[in-house]
Amino acid sequence: MKSLKQRQLINTCVHILLVGACLVSALPLISIFTYIVLRGAPGLSLHFFTGLPQPIGEPGSGMGNAISGTFVLLGIASGIGIPWGLVAGIFMTEYRDTRMASCVRFSAELLSSIPSIVIGLFIYEQIVLRMHHFSALAGGLALSIIMIPTIARSTEEQLLLIPAHIREAGLALGLPRWKVTCHILLPGIIRSIMTSMMLAIARISGETAPLLFTAFGSRFWPESIFEPIASLPIQIYNLAISPFEEWHQQAWTGAFILALFVLSLNIATRLVMRQKEPLS
């Protein structure tokens, strides 16, 4: 038996080690974000949000088209990916023990580990080449494929968390199974599902690779989903590899806005989760 002094000493040491480990793991995030703020914030101005990219030397250059383009792409991706993932998730829980459900589950797992550039290539082959030009639609589609497994898996997990007797109570009321799932079970977990949707959107909003040869990028305002479209990640990439200091500044500011968007989505998710209702 060690003396009290000794044990207190060990306690203090371990405590310091733990705090140190926390700091070390938070350090990269904090330093990246601080650096982005320091480099990006000075470039903030109204025309950054409202203006189009201008030739070097011209005043009033902005990333308005990239910001709105990113929102268009996220909209298309969510419009396709969310219902698709949701339905796949519901299928996996409703037909849990079938061979088909295991196939879907396995595919979802595989799909989520496929490098995103491969998904971009696939869409390029299947959509872009067939339509003969890059388009927002193709970009959104590529992003939606990244969303599907995330949403499907989390919908399945959330549905499985609902105790079986809740479903039985619904069935015992004389309701068909699909009504029990859609009107009783899903509304009960709507918050968790929204959370996973927001996380999925946060995840794809920074994706660059699948957009390179699908949405491609553009110097103009988005007009049609059948035209190439600008997006923050691609525009940041293009500006960052340019030789001009002025453009580098814009890239930093774009990165700052993108990081801020993802961060606020994550914080919003946390806030929603905090008021989560306990399952009975």
């Binding site: 849990r96 023990d97 609902i162 105790p163 007797h165 809740i166 039985e168 109570a169 619904g170 069935l171 015992a172 009321l173 004389g174 309701l175 068909p176 009504k179 009107h183 009783i184 509304p187 009960g188 977990i189 709507i190 918050r191 209702e277 306990p278 399952l279 009975s280």
Partner: protein
């Protein structure tokens, strides 16, 4: 004239034979209690009476149950329509999560097409009154059902089952998760409810069966040992196993 007549019910989980040929008849305006030790198949048996048993993967049931002159195990019978006639209250209070008290009560009606708000409101009030919960919740119908106490939640579940106007109410150990006061409230309630619906209650609490039921059936190892008027089962059982069980010598 019986309101429910179960004949030779067999129930299985995979290859496990749980219920081995139970037959039971229940009279209107009566509480029928099914007693027996844990694992004797009594819960499984009443889950066969609204065809809920077969919803569990790998589970199946055989036999016939006549309700209203119709065999619910008949070939073209839709289990969904059976469950509107035979409501169920579960062991653990299970109000639907994320749903208000009001919505919990009327969800069955609403999802089967009733849209008239006045009808829904009056059904909600009537069902909650029948479940002796109205006075406690009438000022907070919009609050979540899960915010109520355990006993109130269970009465909410009774109101929810009553709202679709079943002919028979199955209760699977409805008070085993509740404290004595909440339990006695539900027991009092049953004596009023039986005027409206036939009640079949599973309980492993013999005193409860003696207090509330008109007919008692004793099940053991998946078989029905005997059934009859509650008073005679508890005072003059015909079978030795029943006597041993009710005098507490096993189970």
């Amino acid at each position: 004239m019986s309101i429910l007549h179960a004949k030779n019910i067999h129930a299985y989980f995979g290859t496990n034979h749980i219920v081995k040929g139970i037959s039971l008849e229940t009279e209107p305006h009566q509480v029928t209690a099914i007693i027996g030790p844990s694992g004797c198949g009594k819960s499984t048996f009443i889950r066969c009476l609204n065809r809920l048993h077969e919803e569990t993967p790998g589970a199946r049931a055989e036999g016939s149950v006549i309700i209203d002159g119709e065999n619910i195990y008949g070939e073209r019978v839709d289990p969904v329509s059976i469950r509107r006639k035979v409501g169920m209250v579960f062991q653990k209070p299970n109000p639907f999560p994320g749903m208000s008290i009001f919505d919990n009560v009327i969800i069955g009606l609403r999802l089967t097409g009733e849209k008239n708000k006045e009808v829904l409101a009056s059904v909600a009030e009537e069902s909650l009154k029948d479940a002796a919960l109205w006075d406690e919740v009438k000022d907070k119908l919009k609050t979540p059902g899960t915010s109520l106490s355990g006993g109130q939640q269970q009465r909410l579940c009774i109101a929810r089952a009553l709202a679709v106007e079943p002919k028979i109410l199955l209760m699977d150990e409805p008070t085993s998760a509740l404290d004595p006061i909440a339990t006695s409230k539900i027991e009092d309630l049953l004596s009023k409810l039986k005027k409206k619906v036939g009640i079949i209650i599973v309980t492993h609490n013999m005193q409860q069966a003696a207090r509330i039921s008109d007919t008692t059936a004793f099940a053991l190892m998946g078989e029905l040992i005997e059934s009859g008027p509650t008073s005679s089962i508890f005072t003059a059982p015909r079978m030795q196993q029943t006597e041993k069980y009710i005098t507490g010598r096993f189970g």
